[in-house]
């Protein structure tokens, strides 16, 4: 397990079937699962910041995964705090579009719940 302190290596949370490691992070269920097992909410609360490192050979991360993974941090601390204090090391993966979409979904959900 490489993750320690407030650095989360998504490598630690890849699905492994035999010798094959999954190259994707998809789905809200998975996002929720990794949020829970990585303890990202508690780490953020404790350290005030978090760094997420994406494995170099990852093929895809979808917004549904990111939406659940970052949901509590964005809703509890706000988008500005999230952008300031959550660092994502993409390692070559173009995460900008799915991340932005994931954040938009969190904000839309939050708005709908606030009504």
């Amino acid at each position: 397990m490489k993750s320690k302190d407030n650095i989360i290596y998504l490598e630690d949370f890849r699905i492994t079937i035999g010798k094959t490691k999954s190259k994707v992070f998809t789905g809200r269920d998975r996002g929720e699962e990794v949020r829970s097992s990585s303890n990202i909410d508690e780490l953020y609360k404790q350290y005030g910041s978090v760094k997420v490192i994406i494995p170099a050979d990852i093929f895809s991360i979808t917004p549904s995964f990111l939406e659940e993974f970052f949901y509590n941090i964005v809703t509890n601390y706000g988008l500005d705090e999230f952008r300031k204090n959550v660092t994502i090391e993409p390692n070559g993966y173009k995460i900008e579009i799915p991340l932005e979409e994931g954040i938009q979904r969190i904000l839309q959900r939050k708005t709908a719940l606030d009504k």
């Binding site: 895809s60 549904s64 173009k94 579009i97």
Partner: protein, 190 residues
């Protein structure tokens, strides 16, 4: 056990004799009370039926209003985006038939296509009817997740015709069918 006296018409009961005129009065009162009760019941029933019908009519009108507004405000301006998305997605996926394709490039393009679709169509649907928009969002997410998983799996040779058809074309076709069925099935209430 009751009997009637054939001489005076009185009702003879176990406790005594009820005289003819008295019996007529009792029956008369019973008849009047029954008439009032039946009339009251009819009024209550008529009022409830009217209220029920009014409520149903209002609900029907509201659904019709919502469908009209959905058409005018959302579909008239954005429905073309749905079909543009279908076509662009199909074009991007067709590239996977080639064994030389850069899958990463295709993945990046897919992410962009799905993002634009969400921003140009799904969001308006959610604004008009949250539940309908959410169902569309869920269907789209399922397709996206399914596609990237298949594309990212190095054990799946998408350049093989039947593999492509099973892994890519079939989910894409099913998605289109489900989306059209969802929109067609909308009845103004979700």
């Amino acid at each position: 056990m009751c009997n009637i006296c054939y001489d005076c018409g009185a009702l003879i009961t176990m406790v005594g004799c009820i005289s003819g005129p008295c019996l007529a009065t009792v029956l008369d009162w019973f008849c009047k009370i029954a008439t009032v009760v039946i009339a009251a019941f009819n009024i209550i029933y008529a009022v409830k039926l009217d209220l029920f019908k009014n409520k149903k009519d209002s609900e029907k009108e509201e659904r019709a209003r919502r469908m009209n507004l959905l058409k005018t405000i959302v579909f008239d301006n954005t429905l073309s985006q749905l079909y543009v998305f279908f076509e662009k997605l199909k074009d991007a996926l067709e590239r996977l038939r080639s064994s030389n394709v850069d899958k990463k490039e295709v993945e990046t393009e897919l992410q962009s296509l799905f993002y634009v679709f969400g921003d140009s169509f799904t969001i308006y649907l959610k604004a008009a009817d949250c539940s309908l928009g959410q169902k569309l969002g869920d269907l789209t997410d399922q397709l996206r997740d399914n596609l990237v998983e298949k594309i990212g799996d190095e054990g799946i040779n998408l350049y093989v015709e039947h593999v492509f058809n099973d892994s890519i074309k079939a989910p894409y076709d099913e998605y289109r069918r489900q989306v059209i069925a969802l929109l067609f099935g909308y009845r103004g209430a979700s």
